[in-house]
Symmetry: C2
Subunit: 199 residues, 2 copies
């Protein structure tokens, strides 16, 4: 499969000393198990749902158009929930959900789509808002029949994720956190349906 | 620095079992030496200079616009030189050079630009044409005062590059070949100027 991974700095893998991020680590596991996967990492640091809505289709087309093995994985939301100088989120909750709905409705017309929920950083702001957004995205995806994976509780419970964020730039983990996230997605049945059974 | 790496499957890292490719391996070496670099891998499999001319600017803007630490690294040409069913190259030599000139002239107005020459596969076709294209691109870059790195001879001389291509899909090396290419670029003075002195 050729897969466009579209999102923000967590998709890019900011902070990962191997420059793989969860996308590269996940796809490396699959390749090493013999599954043929070409990841296109289309994460952009700092982007909200608004920014992603503008570019996701234009960037997916030259990578997947005319092919029968394409897929789209979306993951965003943390930047929407980050506070501006006025204490308000960069994107209001309802707008984030409306934008996600618009992206998903368009994407699923052409490609199989998966959504990975937004991630915690280990502080009440933006986590309180991000957790609410993750819940709402789960509901939206259920309505649209798009598989959604909440990574919230497993990442909060993992020894590396929040610890590496706290020791890093305050927002991004290092390789251990990204490896943990990759393993969570690796075992997700909706992802396994794309790749094949666990080796 | 935030750097857009724009090109074809060799930029994507097709065949690399770690999904890093030379871009990820190069930037991982820099990060682990303490240099702050965010790579955006904008390689797309199968693309020629024509395809890249259409999208490079639209994809670079959302990643680098408004920043003072952006850079663009371009690498393409092998697909231009690949033969069609009629035995002709997918893109004629003169058109490849004209397109490269157009991209470079536009890119250097806004960002610092580096060019990595196209790579051999170890067979007369497309290598005879690709070598000629690499030479012509070197001349074009000299005219435009854009740093150009020929990787032709070092890759042909390296024990992994062509051997891994022959044992792989006939076009792409595995991790050893990409690691060799990353090390060649790692020591290039024009690249070091962007990062800083070798550790």
């Amino acid at each position: 499969m050729r897969i466009c991974f579209i999102g923000d700095s967590y998709v890019t893998g900011t902070g990962d000393e191997t420059c793989q991020g969860w996308v590269g680590r996940l796809c490396a596991m699959e390749r090493q198990a013999g599954y043929d996967v070409t990841p296109y990492n289309l994460g952009v640091r700092g982007q909200t749902s608004r920014d992603i809505a503008v570019r996701w289709h234009a960037e997916t087309l030259p990578r997947l158009a005319g092919r029968h093995d394409g897929g789209v994985v979306l993951s965003f939301g943390v930047n929407d929930c980050t506070a501006t100088a006025h204490g308000l989120p960069r994107v209001p909750h309802d707008e984030s959900i409306a934008t996600a709905q618009q992206i998903l409705q368009q994407a699923r017309q052409t490609w199989p789509v998966l959504v990975i929920g937004p991630t915690p950083v280990g502080r009440a702001s933006p986590d309180d808002r991000t957790r609410a957004l993750s819940h709402a995205m789960a509901g939206l995806c259920a309505q649209l029949d798009v598989p959604f994976l909440s990574v919230w509780n497993p990442l909060l419970a993992h020894p590396s994720w929040c610890a590496e964020i706290a020791h890093g730039d305050g927002a991004h983990p290092a390789g251990g956190g990204y490896a943990a996230l990759a393993r969570i997605i690796h075992g997700w049945p909706a992802w396994r349906k794309w790749m094949g059974p666990l080796p």
